[in-house]
Amino acid sequence: MTFSSKNLQKIEQLKKKYPKVEALTLPLLWIVQYQEGYISLDAIKEVAKYCNKSAMEVYSVASFYTMFNLQPVGKYHIQVCKTLSCKLCGQEDIFSSLKNILDINTNQTTDDNLFTLSQVECLGSCGTSPVMEINDKYYENLTPQKVEDIINDLSKKS
């Protein structure tokens, strides 16, 4: 894996913002994830070169954070909140309708590689629960009907 030239420029900018290159570890892992869709072992070796670490050290960091995907995920990564405020407001119905519509279970990807389903902890959106995040976008105040519409829309777009 190599960084695109645009991303290499971004990295040069980032270096100026931190006192030490070690601090670039998380920003670089994010750049990889956007560029490649997930973080391969090969990419980890590449990141290590830029932040004065061994590949093993970078791997240890990458594996600590749940948002870093060390395996490929579908085009749309659905993260449904399962924590208390969402549970009190009906997240179980949301999760089961997602399972039904997509015909997959948690941590699985649909056969067409379009959707990956994850259950996550509090998304900081408890006042508008139940909620899910698809890639970087929040979907709030969900109902099973809304979930169906959202998934249909995304399927059509692809």
């Binding site: 913002k17 931190y18 006192p19 030490k20 070690e22 601090a23 670039l24 570890t25 998380l26 920003p27 892992l29 994010w30 932040c51 670490k53 240890s60 960091v61 600590f64 954070y65 749940t66 948002m67 870093f68 993260q79 399962k82 924590t83 208390l84 405020s85 549970k87 009190l88 407001c89 996550v120 902890e121 509090c122 998304l123 900081g124 959106s125 408890c126 006042g127 508008t128 629960s129 995040e133 970087d136 976008k137 929040y138």
Partner: protein
């Protein structure tokens, strides 16, 4: 009854208030001239006098923390803003950064100047990308107006703000874990020092404050310490962006002064319990604060001292409202799963304890536990208290004890074997 007050949330309802022109029309950056008439120490003293307390959950005196920063050391000072906001039931900082980001930027300018810092980082939880983008646009606007960058406001002061994105780890909200993460490491909390000292970012003195704490500073600079102290109680001065979620009619974030009656708050802003059910319990300030029964809530006021006095804490002020139909065993299982998943794994009592309790909770729900298992959970909770690097485990212990001691009959209702 409720006295409505808006210090931090004043511009939340103004359309496009995240835009710098709208922000400027509505009072943002208006105390800048006042700022330059003070020196660092003056500002620290004003903040100390205002009684401002950290709004990230701990409630430490902001001024006392600022005073720990060396003003003439030979190392650079750093200001780090905590926007990790991962405590279940808490969703207030997100309101600030998406509805009035310039209030935060203005607060950062004042605070950085006070502690003689030229570089501020905002550590934001990875999931908040949408809101991070709004905040970044506001920062870009501030740069283009020369409110940030070199020689800001032509006053010879340099200040940069960099947003640093987390990647999904609750523990990174704990300030020392946050700094480890900001250094590019796993988010493992650090051991606490023996005496009071600043935090350290790559061995440089660092101040960590919550978004809302910093967003409260412009009001204080503009109106003075006394004006801020005129809200709230003697020891808990000012206001907080309290919030309501769960079984309540109008969920959301509503600012109120400390000392407000919790029931008045729930009825006035929340409109009462959803579906006209009866209240069973309230988790008062984010998941990590000890649960209160409906009876305990009757006469409680929303300030640090009152909640401490009944064995809970104010936390982040994010109240989770629980109605009479809620199964408390399932609710505790849900929270234990959260802590089990989020334990950073560094300390054995926390890593293993959260896992054991989760397993036993499952066996209770499955109907295969006995009465001794309930006591075993309480024993495990005891082993988690005071034996770990950070307060994650003690908080979990309190959560467990709160549920079991206050609602033990519900747990016993699941026991079918001897």
């Amino acid at each position: 009854m409720i006295k409505e007050v808006k210090i931090v949330s004043k511009n939340f309802d103004i359309p496009n208030s995240h835009n710098i022109e709208v922000a400027l029309k509505n009072g943002r950056y208006s105390s800048i001239d006042k700022l330059w008439s003070y020196n660092n120490q003056d500002i620290i003293d004003i903040v100390k006098d205002s009684g401002l307390r950290g709004k990230g959950g701990g409630g430490a005196s902001a001024g006392d923390k600022w005073a720990l920063m060396p003003l003439d050391g030979d190392k650079p000072n750093y200001l780090v803003i905590n926007c990790d906001e991962s405590e279940p039931g808490t969703f207030k900082d997100r309101e600030i950064i998406s509805k009035d980001p310039h209030l935060l930027i203005e607060g950062i300018i004042y605070s950085a100047y006070a502690i003689n810092s030229h570089q501020a980082y905002i550590y934001i939880r990875g999931e908040y990308k949408e809101f991070q983008d709004i905040l970044q646009s506001a920062i870009d606007e501030a740069y283009s107006k020369n409110f940030l960058g070199e020689n800001i406001f032509n006053r010879g002061y340099n200040l940069d703000i960099t947003i640093h994105r987390g990647a999904g780890a609750y523990i990174c909200g704990e300030k020392s874990a946050l700094l480890e993460s900001l250094e590019g490491k796993r988010g493992h909390p650090r051991l606490k020092p023996h005496q009071k000292e600043p935090e350290w970012y790559f061995d440089n003195p660092t101040l960590v404050n919550n978004v809302e704490t910093i967003a409260s500073v412009p009001f204080i600079i503009n109106n003075g310490a006394e004006a801020y102290k005129s809200y709230g109680t003697e020891l808990s001065s000012g206001t907080l962006l309290f919030a309501l979620s769960g079984h309540i009619k109008n969920r959301g974030v509503y600012e109120a002064e400390f000392g407000t009656s919790m029931m008045d708050y729930i009825n006035h802003y929340g409109g009462g319990i959803r579906d006209n059910k009866k209240l069973k319990a309230v988790i008062p300030g984010g998941a990590s604060t000890t649960i209160l029964t409906a009876k305990e809530v009757e006469n409680i006021t929303l300030d640090y001292e009152s909640l401490r006095a009944i064995g809970s804490s104010l936390g982040t002020g994010g109240m989770i409202i629980i109605d009479e139909d809620t199964n408390m065993v399932e609710a505790l299982k849900n929270l234990v799963e959260f802590y089990h998943h989020e334990s950073c794994g560094q300390c054995t009592p926390c890593r293993e304890g959260s896992s054991w309790v989760d397993t036993i909770m499952k066996s209770i729900l499955d109907g295969v536990a006995n009465n001794r298992d309930i006591d075993k959970i309480l024993e495990i909770a005891n082993t988690m208290n005071g034996k770990t690097v950070c307060v994650f485990a003690p908080a979990l212990a309190d959560v467990i004890r709160g549920f079991i001691l206050k609602f033990r009959d519900e747990f016993e209702g699941y026991i079918k074997v001897d």
